[in-house]
């Protein structure tokens, strides 16, 4: 976390925002990457998500203050899409509290890095693979299709929606001082715990899932797992130079070709 992100004082008492406005902001944060592009990244999405709150600025949507805030909030921004709600909450508070534009712009610049790296480690490299692997274990243990899908979707989205709601709340309550919330033990230590849990679950899930797909032929399953293990070692050794899924595409395509033409 940068010093600039830490240095803001706690905000003044919060202005009133209706529940309906918060629902609107929350739904819009779900679409925060709707116009993601290589120029402004999430920027337009942040402006889009904040727009219902900014309507509460004195004088409404036709004032210079509203337009200046919209322009400021729609500029370049980058973060993990779920944790961007932290920034949305904090920026909503800052704009309605009349925080000077320079401070808001400094905050937007400073908070990008932490929100991106924490979110990537926590969600993409932690919660998502863990949820997926738990569902694969359920499949391997014989769960019916509906349960396999439900286990994944429910488990993943408890974390997903929980993180977004927490982010919006903590951003709003702490305003531009929100960076300290990123030192929360769940965000700081959670990825390491999740990585260990996911590693253990991966060890259980891979053979069980493979066994249910292959069926009752034990010899073929043993062969598949042994060959898979060897290829995996090779893939780890050439990590970064060969993408596993592309290699598999080529291998399976060759297998299909042989099966069809022999």
């Amino acid at each position: 976390m940068t010093a600039a992100a830490r240095s803001y004082p706690a905000p003044d008492p919060a202005p009133h925002v209706s529940a309906l406005t918060w629902v609107s902001v929350f739904v819009r944060t779900l679409a925060i990457q709707g116009s993601w592009n290589y120029e402004t990244l999430l920027g337009n999405g942040v402006g889009f998500a904040l727009e219902p709150v900014l309507r509460q600025l004195p004088g409404g949507v036709h004032t210079d203050a509203f337009k200046a805030a919209m322009a400021r909030e729609s500029a370049y921004f980058n973060a993990h899409p779920y944790l961007a709600s932290v920034a949305v909450g904090a920026l909503a508070r800052a704009e309605l509290s009349g925080v000077p534009a320079e401070r808001i712009e400094r905050f937007r610049t400073a908070i990008c890095g932490p929100l991106g790296s924490v979110g990537d480690r926590l969600v993409w490299a932690g919660w998502l693979p863990l949820s997926s692997l738990v569902a694969l274990v359920a499949f391997g243990l014989g769960a019916r299709p509906l349960w396999v899908v439900l286990i994944f979707v429910l488990m993943y989205n408890v974390g997903h929606f929980g993180l977004r709601i927490w982010g919006l709340h903590v951003g709003w309550t702490r305003g531009l001082a929100v960076a300290s919330a990123l030192a929360n033990p769940v965000l700081r230590n959670g990825p390491a715990y999740m990585a260990r849990a996911a590693a253990a679950v991966a060890g259980v899930a891979i053979p069980l899932a493979a066994a249910r797909v292959v069926g009752s032929d034990g010899l073929l399953l043993d062969g598949a797992l042994a060959a898979g293990g060897l290829i995996a070692i090779g893939l780890v050794r050439v990590h970064g130079r060969v993408e596993g899924w592309k290699l598999v595409l080529v291998l399976i395509a060759l297998f299909a070709l042989v099966s069809v033409i022999r």
Binding site: A232, I252, S259, V260
Partner: protein, 225 residues
Amino acid sequence: MRELLPLSMLGGILGLDVVCFPQMMISRPLVGATLAGAFVGDTITGLLVGVTLELIALATLPFGASRYPEWGSAAVVGGAIAAALRVEPAGTLTVGVLATLATAWVGGWTLVKLRQWNAWLAGRRRGGLEAGARGTVIGLQLGGLTSDLLRAMALTAVAYALLFPVARAAVGLWTFSQPLSRAVTVGAASAVAAAAAWTIFHSARGARWYFAGGLVIGLLLLKLR
């Protein structure tokens, strides 16, 4: 091909979920292929394709601006193809997985093009953005969402229309047995999953031992069944 329109709608919704809205990960192949299989009338085949692809998808996490396969629409294509060809089961899992991987590759490219299109639109409306025009911000966001939905629908429809006849012909000429075909396909997928698990988790202290412990438990469970 009566199923083309509803499948393209399903592919559109799941394709939209990948990046734009609402990112609930219903676009993961485990969900997408199973739903498509259920839609075509064979949920189990869809699930088998989805599980095999989910093992592969562990290696492709959607980090930031990186280019990754678009699993949402692709899983619908592969799951539906495999489920529709269930009467000749030997090669269905393999062709379903292949169809998904090929579509996901092209889908990743279409996502890059969509991002360039969004940047072009934003560039054309730069004046409105700099002036803080509410309509411009909302218009760009809705335009991006609509473009992504249409992209995913078109991708699903075109991929299914092109790949289904090829897959049907391949399954008709398939010579390997069903168990062998499945073993090769899932063996390859397991390799990617194991390598991905190592790559993602090895930086956590002790993760390799957790993986080894889990593997022992998994293999013991297999032997005890």
